[in-house]
């Protein structure tokens, strides 16, 4: 399995500001994933963070709003830019362990935008 840490665990932000979420994995992985879980909803993939190349974004998510960095094989950041109340969600990072499809999740970041 993979052990994943995330910070901050929660934050309350003002509209129009940006927040950067950090994700650290305890082993080297090629792909890391960022998900969003809006209140009462399931998980939606935002993007795949690939080391050494640009992140791959899912339909409905754009780099200007959710820039991602992947400086090495154990670390990634997701920035939520120019936030609005609609961005209030839990943001989760994940990485594979023990096989490509078995993804393990970080503890999540609960973001509230006022």
């Amino acid at each position: 399995s993979a052990v994943i840490s995330q910070k901050p665990s929660r934050d309350i932000c003002q509209r129009g500001t940006s927040l950067t979420i950090q994700c650290q994995v305890d082993s080297q992985v090629t792909m890391m994933f960022w998900y969003r879980q809006q209140p009462g909803q399931s998980l939606t993939l935002i993007a795949t963070a690939n080391q050494g190349s640009e992140a791959t974004y899912e339909s409905g998510f754009v780099i200007d709003k959710f820039p991602i960095s992947r400086p090495n094989l154990t670390f990634s950041t997701l920035t939520v830019s120019n936030m609005s109340p609609e961005d209030s969600s839990i943001y989760l990072c994940s990485a594979p362990g023990g096989g490509t499809d078995t993804q393990y999740f970080g503890p999540g970041t609960r973001l509230t935008v006022l």
Binding site: T44, T48, D101
Partner: protein
Amino acid sequence: EDKVVQSPLSLVVHEGDTVTLNCSYEVTNFRSLLWYKQEKKAPTFLFMLTSSGIEKKSGRLSSILDKKELFSILNITATQTGDSAIYLCAVGGSSNTGKLIFGQGTTLQVKP
């Protein structure tokens, strides 16, 4: 479009009951089906299923996959209040991307 559908969306039972959660899918290039338990924020991994008819078991939880009928079930026997959580089904498809498509989740509440 790939999709994963879980049922029921919510369920209330009493301790000691047995529950069956369902997950059906339509995914291109199916690779695997995974079950997660989400109590607060982070989903915790329960099972990964890749082959039909082979039951995975962990304590009171078990799961099986039917690739012909495109569904999976998660059984929990002798439920306890600690089983109260959201149970998520996810399917990996489109080979080599590692992407998971999640269902809506089933919210299980176990009453004492």
